[in-house]
Amino acid sequence: MTRNVRVQYFGILREQRGCGEESRETGAASPLDLYRELAGEHGFSLDPENLRVAVNDEFRDWDSILAEGDKVVFIPPVAGG
């Protein structure tokens, strides 16, 4: 089973991906699976344990279940302030 998700990138991930956003048909069931798939493809340097993940603008567990149309954002270590 696959689903369409929208992925947004910020900071160092946006630079490594070369774009701020993409839509994607994926077989990944969880954000963790999705990140591994994308990291393999684009060579992201960050390990998931240094990231957090948000789905539809809420923080979410890495092993939660993705649904059709979800907006997924991987969050590199923050540096505000």
Binding site: F10, E49, R52, A54, D57, F59, I75, P76, V78, G80
Partner: protein, 161 residues
């Protein structure tokens, strides 16, 4: 009263003051983060802040609510700058009112610590040698992670005081 805002334009503390004033308040504590001319031994020329705006505002307001909840304060606000900043520019302002100064200091400190650790804002530093780098603080990353895994443990490891 609580309000977390993001702004592409310069920040001025006076803006927050207007919202903070109330006859019940006896103490007003503000923290401003300024762009320093150096960081980790490198000479900084300018920097750029980028935010995941929807979640940043949500998380920022959650932090302000926590502060109102935990400390005897009357108002708590935070404004964070986005975009390109030069040395000396104001990156962030936290403003807190309370009847007494204990609570105002403690809440202001809590808010800036949590904002730095949890709000999805990223900083790219541009150095005088022409290089640039996305900055991240491993301690903050560790804290954010812990916060995420244990939603009820908000304690933040402070540096030596």
């Amino acid at each position: 009263m609580n309000r977390f805002t993001l702004s592409e334009k310069p920040l001025f503390a006076e803006t927050l003051l207007a919202e903070a004033a109330t006859p019940r308040a006896g103490a007003y504590v503000t923290f401003e983060g300024w762009v320093r001319d150096h960081n980790e031994g490198r000479e900084v020329l300018s920097l750029e802040y980028e935010a995941y705006e929807a979640l940043a505002v949500k998380e920022g307001n959650a932090i302000l609510c926590e502060a109102l909840d935990r400390f005897e304060v009357l108002s708590a606000q935070c404004a964070h700058r986005l975009g390109r900043l030069e040395v000396g520019n104001v990156a962030v302002i936290v403003a807190v009112t309370a009847e007494h100064r204990d609570a105002a200091f403690d809440a202001c400190r809590y808010i800036i610590d949590e904002v730095k650790a949890r709000v999805p804002i990223w900083k790219k530093e541009y150095y005088t040698d022409g290089e640039s780098e996305w900055v991240n603080c491993p301690r903050c990353a560790a804290h954010a992670h812990r916060h995420h895994n244990h939603a009820h443990d908000h304690a933040h490891p402070r540096t030596a005081r």
